[in-house]
């Protein structure tokens, strides 16, 4: 019952969005090259899937994003651990995290090519550089902003060093880390698109670039839709699930 209602709401919402879009396109305020109608985009989507370029794009990009994002998480956490456990690193690196994270991916392209040549690794490097610090920032925030009592209780019960980090600080800051994972995911995608600009490499970034280079707005929007749909699925499958688990464990939702 409840889920039927929810699906219904989604249908209404997307139908409404589509309606507004179609209407705007119908009104011809902007020429269809720049503001394509839903049908044009649908056509692009169909074409893209028909000639396999979208399938390939999704496959290639998904592989990169998954590997890159996973690496980011691991390295981001390791760095977070480093910053957390070392007072020197904390005082020096701590203040740099946000500003380093502000550097656009374009800054890393030359280094990526220099160090990894024109390989998948170069693209992964860009993805990792783009999202890694986002995870570290979230970990730092979690560590510094979580209730003090957890750390005290952990230390009191004999946890210290790595154990304290792993068994107390990390789980206690999970709400923050989860939030950071989402932001990191967004960073990873954006970096991937930049990274795929290093060389032509079949990914969705490439398709987006092509769309833009050809000023083919239907293609651009079609790729945007693909990215959003992938994001939506990942969000639903991973982030929401994790969140729900956490909310259940921590009792953040109603229990009646």
């Amino acid at each position: 019952m409840k889920s039927v209602k929810k699906v219904g709401k989604h249908v209404i919402f997307y139908a409404a969005l589509l309606g507004i879009w179609a209407l705007l396109a119908k009104l011809k305020i902007w020429p269809s090259y720049v503001f394509p109608a839903p049908l044009g985009v649908l056509q692009s989507l169909r074409d893209g899937f028909a000639d396999h370029s979208f399938w390939i794009g999704i496959g290639v990009s998904m592989k990169r994003i998954i590997v890159g994002y996973a690496l980011s998480i691991v390295l981001g956490m390791v760095l977070g651990l480093g910053v957390a456990s070392n007072k020197f690193l904390e005082e020096t690196m701590g203040g740099l995290l946000v500003s380093l994270q502000s550097l656009p991916s374009i800054c890393w392209l030359p280094l990526a090519v220099l160090w990894f040549g024109l390989t998948e690794k170069a693209i992964l490097f860009v993805v990792v550089m783009g999202s890694l610090l986002s995870i570290t920032i979230a970990m730092e925030d979690g560590r510094t902003q979580m209730p003090k009592i957890y750390r005290m209780a952990g230390r009191n019960l004999g946890a210290s060093g790595l154990k304290l980090f792993w068994y107390v600080l990390l789980p206690a800051s999970l709400p923050f880390i989860l939030s950071g994972l989402k932001q990191g995911w967004a960073f990873a995608w954006r970096s991937l698109i930049s990274g795929e600009m290093i060389f032509v490499s079949l990914g969705l970034g490439q398709l987006l670039m092509t769309g833009r280079d050809l000023n083919d707005m239907s293609l651009v929007i079609a790729v945007m839709i693909l990215i959003v749909v992938i994001g939506f699925i990942v969000d639903g499958l991973i982030f929401r699930t994790l969140e729900k688990r956490l909310q259940y464990k921590w009792g953040l939702t109603s229990a009646t």
Binding site: I149, R155, N156, L246, W250, G251
Partner: protein, 306 residues
Amino acid sequence: MTVNSRNAFTPETRKVQLRVDAGGRWKAGAAPTIAPLRVNPTDTAKVSLKGISLQYKTGNGSRLLALDDINLKVSPGEFLCIVGPSGCGKSTLLHLIAGLHQPSMGTVLVDDHLVDGPGTDRILIFQELGLFPWLKVGENIEFGMKMKGVPKSERRERVQHHLRLVHLSKFKDSYIHQLSGGMRQRVALARALATEPDVLLMDEPFAALDAQTRDLLHDELERIWAETGCTIIFVTHNVREAIRLGDRVALLTFRPGRVKREYAVNLPRPRHLEDPSVALAAREILDDLREEINKSIAAEYEGVQA
């Protein structure tokens, strides 16, 4: 009839002694019950606080003196209860012994070693409990043992045992937020007991429990204490509870916390909270306490006028 407490504790070192006369009634303030404090320098103390004071930082640079020149010795295997007005620094004192804070002045010694951090020999039950919401009840209880490196099978057994002790076996797989206030307090108790520490620091561990459950847990605690010979420092606002459990009761003064007086409790064990002798003994301490509270109220009005 003067009855010595169970453990090898020398009553001469206490300022005030509470005794029961032959008729089962209390004589308080009579000559023999007050003796000068004679600390034996060769006494080995399990925990000793020397000239401890602690200041908290409060807003814009001002400071609050929470503890002032605390001197306390706790013998091995002793059961010391600490009472005092709300906000006098009892929790702070336990934090210091647990090594979670550093005193502004003075030293905390445990087994003649300077305390400069937490150690598994001293486990504190926090007033705020500090249970981990990401762990199930059983896992919470297991936590300290896991940190200590107790093997898994033993851990499981001890978890079972302590769950039963606090009547929460059915809630082994619940999360903390699914428990009532009193149940949480019992989990915290089980978590601390399961690590089997040398020194157990308890900060109002039974405050949220109903009378019967508390009675049962008093008995259990006393039994565990007798069996393991651990040292217990027990903070409570319930004077009767202090007398029910303690070998000695220390009364702290209102802000800043100082040791106002110590009472040796020379009542036979087992005692009961509702024993008239306990009630009678509580009277004297309550009178002392009342004095402190009145100070706090005086301070209150002064504060408003200032």
